[in-house]
Symmetry: C2
Subunit: 476 residues, 2 copies
């Protein structure tokens, strides 16, 4: 285990493009030394207890041969033997696993006070003020909660209270959370569970690679938005009324989708005309990940402003925090009922101190610009692979949100599900954590901590190249 | 502010009853010193920013003159001027505000690893194992989440998946959380919002002081359970099918209610016959607060075992954690759908480390026995007041869960709402935090951190005596 505590600086990588930021920089902090005594159980023993005590709906990554992780720092995770894994998927450990400033902020506030928001506290208002500076002026009212699911559920309540309507439109394959109300608006889940409620409407996924309007369409944004409009019109004929259009700014479990530019504006126009609001779910994709902007919805242009934005996952670097930002009008309608909204842990001083520090670190370490540059570099490397490997059908992404869509056939674009599974299993053997997603589970999904660097990008693409070549040799 | 860091030991109280535990013990830890520089805003400035940025549905305690709290330790909170408030209401800071062992556990784990439960980790299984030892053997499967609301929502999903039924019975004035699905099953909320859904059934609150069957009834447990049975029978005639009976083991916002002994067994029999399950909501009342037992449902006797238990608030001493415990059969039905349950932050190593430490502290500091003894002492002192003050209609409680029901008229038992509000406002001026609850907002609600001691009990009852005497003089 000695290497965990005393990992040497990485060798300087060769052949990197000229970049403004030191992409291959040594992580700004080294992992603390882990005394082996902290590990008491073997992996098999932990697994056996888990099977005995934890509901099996809670799945393990690589269930046949799960990984026991005991420590992590930056973009690296360590198993019980001290093996170092490169983490390409943890979008929660946003500024790096166990970032020392975040850990320190939590500890300092934990020593002083952790109570509910029925008392005045500076952290709550400071945090709201800090977040407001990242958002369009209109989004100026804040609610703090404990999870992205809680945030999306509150967004539902806000939208319904404001519009006095019930119906929700979402896009195909969407996932908005694990709560009853969110399973209902998540085709990714309800297609396999209770089915579609009468107040839920599913628009086609604006996927220009595999969707109904593709890259060869003259105006896919307009075409997909018209589909949403048709659904609204048809629902109106049946007397339905829309509270909201709900969408991840970049659909993630749907397969790392980048909606065509201008789609949100057009859909927002339709949903507004129907009396509903636009909810941008930024739970997976906010906080600078997309590089060009702090929020992924901003990729659609300055003329687009959602009515409600929900935030989660990366917001507290692993601490359970979440937030809903909305307009004065919507917040006003919600409070006009006279009914209190109380969230026991939401907006406590510790969660807010952590949230503020995550914003500080993103700024200080210029992680948004870093995500843009490393993401572009990774896209470039991947595109070089696309030329070589017929298994790669599409590479799409922005910043450190990237998908590699694997296909059995370039023409038919049929998902290469088995191959994708094989690749992530092989990568795991190479100590690289990558995952798959999309309805066909054939999209390799990059969403690493933002400190992920060019050296990491080179490593993972080199390994990917080898594995793809092996796969192609086999099938040849 | 010097007194915050260097508060002297309290003087030994006089006239305490003989007790096994040192109820007047000096808190086991002193507050850390707070540098005044940490406080940058005046209370008015914080308040102004809060009004500007935070949805006003998020209410302040004493909205006309809110308190700014900057630090807390044990059962004491400190405002920005260093005034020390006795906290009689924070049931989240269960083992005492900022308990050093809990803070240390959080910090040590935060330094090492905070990631999701898709990797194996000992803390998750250790915590589940520890909790299982506090519960009847049948409740052996665990799910970890971030809030009591998330726990109750999962309980709903589990109950429905297991029974394949939809309907839920709750008791009048119940509150089970802030999510869409839980507002639906909380008469306390839905009576003022969307109204009652067709799948929700409300049984009378088994309140033997103000309910339909009172202390003079021969068998109120049977009578109230029969009411539930009648509702089931009537619903069956309309073709409805019950998934669950959902109830706080001790209804809290309903006014600190102690259900009659044996009620749960009888209701459980009826709901089981109807194909439903019994969900015991222990979010407010679990973890030793009731003194005699670790769980409040155990007050009903050893022959009662719920099918699902939900936990929250005190579980992490302020850290966002929650848990659902259930049977193998219910967990099995939930996983048989093949649909994953993933909760991003739920069951992370930090939350579990904190949860384990809270259990350790309850044990080490014998807080359950302490709650029983201090609670009994407080009840004794309050009962002495009842003889003196006609405003006190009823005193009920168990351990450190106590309600003082104030009435305008002993016969009519009409709620003394204004008087209750006056009392907590006056107590606040005396630096004592107490709150009111119940449909008439006339029940003084004691639910302090479990380190609350006999000296605190004496102090609050002395002040209460003075204020009640003042009130009575005025109206005389």
């Amino acid at each position: 285990m000695a290497e965990v505590g005393a990992r040497p600086s990485p060798p300087p990588p060769g052949g990197l493009p000229r970049l403004l930021l030191p992409l291959d920089r040594v992580p700004p902090f080294l992992p603390p030394f882990l005394p082996p005594s902290a590990m008491t159980r073997s992996r098999q023993e932990t697994l056996a207890l888990r099977k005995q005590l934890i509901g099996s709906s809670c799945r393990l990554f690589f269930p046949e041969d799960p990984v026991k992780i005991v420590q992590a720092t930056n973009q690296y995770m360590y198993d019980e033997h001290g093996n170092e894994y490169l983490d390409c998927i943890n979008n929660v450990a946003h500024v790096g696993h166990c970032h020392p400033e975040v850990v320190k902020a939590a500890h300092q506030q934990n020593l002083l006070l952790n109570t509910n928001s029925r008392y005045l506290h500076d952290n709550l208002v400071d945090y709201a003020q800090r977040l407001s500076k990242t958002l369009p002026e209109k989004l100026c009212m804040f609610y703090f909660l404990n999870s992205g699911s809680e945030a999306n559920d509150l967004a539902l309540r806000l939208a319904r209270q404001y519009t006095k309507h019930e119906d929700i439109m979402v896009v195909e394959h969407a996932y908005h959370g694990h709560l009853t109300s969110l399973i209902d608006i998540s085709p990714y889940k309800f297609r396999n569970l209770g089915g579609q409620k009468e107040w839920v409407h599913v628009a086609p996924l604006p996927d220009t690679y595999r969707g109904i309007y593709r890259e060869d369409h003259a105006d896919p944004a307009l075409a997909y938005a018209n589909e949403a409009k048709t659904i609204i019109d048809q629902a109106h004929e049946r007397g339905r009324k829309f509270a909201a259009f709900f969408m991840e700014s970049l659909p993630s479990v749907a397969g790392q989708i980048i909606p065509p530019f201008g789609y949100f504006q057009k859909v927002a126009e339709h949903i507004h005309k129907a009396g509903g609001v636009f909810v941008a779910d930024e739970i997976q994709v906010g906080f600078g990940r997309v590089g060009k902007h702090f929020w992924a919805f901003q990729l659609q242009g300055e003329d687009f402003i959602p009515d409600i934005v929900t935030m989660g996952k990366p917001i507290g670097n692993g601490h359970p925090v979440a937030c809903v930002a909305t307009t004065k009008e919507i917040a006003g309608a919600f409070s006009s009922t006279g009914v209190e909204y109380f969230n026991t842990f939401g907006g406590n001083p510790v969660s807010c101190a952590i949230g503020i520090t995550v914003l500080d670190v993103i700024e200080k370490e210029r992680l948004q610009a870093h995500a843009l540059q490393v993401g572009s570099f990774l896209m470039e490397l991947l595109n070089q692979q696309k030329v070589k490997h017929p298994l790669i059908g599409d590479i799409r992404g922005v910043g450190l949100f990237i998908g590699v869509d694997l296909v059995q056939n370039q023409e038919k674009r049929s998902p290469a599900t088995t191959e994708a599974e094989f690749i992530i299993t092989r990568l795991k053997e190479e100590l690289i954590m990558l995952s798959t997603d999309g309805p066909g589970r054939n999209v390799l999904k990059f969403k690493p901590p933002l400190c992920f660097n060019a050296r990491d990008a080179k490593l993972v693409v080199e390994k990917l190249d080898q594995i793809l070549s092996d796969l192609e040799k086999r099938s040849a």
